[in-house]
């Protein structure tokens, strides 16, 4: 009974934070979100629509491209992609709309590639400040490894680099623990609690989130 109550309380404490503590990314028409926090966005099939683009609260980094319709003659246009931009911003519990300015000529596209003047808006229409950088690859463009390019980018001093994304984190798993304590051992619970708190405070955002969802799924 006591255990049930504890898990119920833990679930209560965790649920609101887990469901709220995230940012949703809403790309406008023509905006392609290629990666989120160092990981490429899985390209969905054509008919399933937009993938769910969510990030944990706090500092976030996205990689985005814009496909512009460049007017070529009175009744035709060609599609041109912008350069590949890295955008880093800070937000919490909101939907971030990612927009590009209106681009209809090579002149506009050149200016956009030079300035990187994206518009990031929260769910109340206020603009969110951000840092912007570019991912560039020399040579053939068909086999770009965005994850690798981002790792290199995030180790630089660029404004939009997010060094914390290059730190490897532990993957919690739900199978039986590798170190099964002996039945007769009684670890000092005060010490265990202290250590849990200590290491939780040391953990970065990603580790904390992984830990929280591990608790949620293994309880």
């Amino acid at each position: 009974m006591k255990k049930n109550l504890t898990s119920f309380m833990a679930a209560c404490a965790l649920y609101p934070t887990l469901s709220l503590a995230e940012i949703k990314i809403n790309p406008s028409n023509g905006v392609d979100i290629i990666a989120i926090n160092g990981k490429p966005v899985e390209s969905e099939t054509f008919f399933s629509g937009l993938p769910q683009l969510k990030i944990a609260n706090g500092k976030a980094q996205i990689v985005a491209e814009y496909t512009a319709e460049i007017v070529e003659s009175a009744d035709d246009y060609i599609l041109e992609k912008s350069d590949t931009f890295v955008i880093t911003f800070d937000a919490s519990d909101t939907t971030v709309t990612v927009r590009a300015p209106e681009i209809s000529s090579q002149y506009d596209l050149k200016a956009f590639n030079r300035e990187g003047n994206w518009q990031l808006l929260d769910n109340q229409g206020r603009s969110i400040s951000y840092h912007v950088g570019k991912l560039e690859k020399e040579g053939f463009q068909l086999d770009r490894d965005i994850e690798k390019e981002l790792k290199v980018f995030n180790r630089t001093n660029a404004d939009a680099a997010l060094g914390s994304l290059t730190v490897e984190t532990h993957n919690f798993h739900n199978n039986t623990p590798s170190h099964q304590p002996a039945d007769n051992s009684h670890p000092d619970q005060k010490m265990v609690g202290k250590m849990l708190q200590f290491w939780f405070e040391q953990a970065n955002e990603e580790t904390r989130n992984k830990f929280k969802s591990w608790i949620e799924t293994s309880l």
């Binding site: 028409n29 008919f47 937009l50 003659s73 009175a74 599609l79 992609k81 040579g139």
Partner: protein, 312 residues
């Protein structure tokens, strides 16, 4: 199974969106663009039969070299396959695969000079919004808007665009044809775009030349754009277009328009059209469209079409 195949085919086509730039390195850029438009169409007219029509089947190659100091050399070759698809019987003396454009040039900042086989400056003119029009779009299209011995200048500014082209008669050469001098200018302020174009044409060597001129305006009211143009070929004919495009939803736009041609050498015709275009929310590359159109000529039935366009 069929549905799955379609899904695979479409996702492959959609996935190639990012494949437009093939190579970029050491100042060299190589891009490929493609345009495929296929439609079921019954033309306006008396007792016309419907058929599957290939409007655009184009592969465009673009190469540019960065020469430093904001200078670039570029080249473009476009191949069109629509005649190969539309004609079931080979026509003697006609190539199935057409070279649509082939030119090289130099760009200095936002100014470029190019020469080769390309569209004339007056091809930029016109506001009609039809997917297919029975009439020529404007008096420039009724004259000539493409050349094969052309030198062209393009200047792009923040709120203005200027183009000038000269098509040589190339007397004695394989590409011998008319001589055309074209100008086009457009400017944009607030939500209004104004444009003007001029052409001096000598369609056959030794023939009398004539002038074509035109003006257009379009206004973007947010929920819709409204536009009109007027073009005139001296002592021959004049034409106007009125068109409006409404954004019915983020993905859907509805276009309506009409054109009227008054001719001193033939019959006057008024044609109208209404169309709808749907673009998939996640892909600018794919659009579906449908259109109905009719004119006031005697003994004609309404025309219609429906089709799909894939661009990359």
């Amino acid at each position: 199974m069929k549905k799955l195949l379609l899904a695979v085919a479409v996702s492959v086509a959609a996935g190639s969106a990012s494949a437009a730039t093939i190579y970029e390195g050491n100042g060299l850029t190589y891009k490929i663009n493609g345009d495929l438009q296929i439609q079921l169409r019954q033309k306006i007219g008396d007792d016309k039969e419907a058929d599957v029509e290939f409007d655009d089947l184009e592969i465009k190659n673009y190469v540019s070299y960065d020469l430093g100091d904001d200078m670039k050399a570029f080249g473009r070759v476009d191949f069109g396959f629509k005649d190969a698809a539309n004609n079931s019987v080979d026509v003697e003396g006609e190539e199935d695969v057409a070279l649509e454009e082939a030119y090289v040039g130099l760009a200095f900042g936002n100014t470029s000079v190019s020469f080769g086989k390309m569209n004339l400056a007056s091809d930029e003119f016109g506001i009609e919004e039809a997917i297919e029009l029975g009439q020529k779009e404007d008096r420039f299209d009724a004259s000539e808007t493409a050349g094969d011995d052309t030198i062209r200048l393009d200047i792009e500014l923040e709120n203005a665009y200027i183009a000038a082209s000269y098509e040589m008669e190339a007397e004695g050469a394989g590409s011998e044809n008319g001589e055309y001098f074209d100008l086009f200018a457009s400017t944009e302020f607030a939500n209004l775009t104004l444009a003007a174009a001029y052409q001096n044409a000598t369609p056959i060597i030794g023939a009398d030349d004539y002038d074509v001129w035109g003006v257009s305006a379009s206004y973007d009211a947010g929920f819709a754009t409204f536009a009109a143009d007027y073009s005139d070929r001296e002592d021959h004919s004049d034409q106007y277009n009125i068109a409006a495009v409404f954004k019915a939803a983020k993905t859907t736009k509805i276009g309506i328009g009409m054109t009227n041609v008054e001719s001193e050498v033939g019959a006057d015709v008024t044609e109208w059209y209404a169309n709808v275009t749907y673009k998939f929310p996640n892909q600018k590359n794919v659009s579906l469209f449908a259109e109905i159109a009719d004119n006031d000529a005697a003994n004609t039935d309404m025309g219609y079409l429906a089709g799909m366009r894939v661009k990359f």
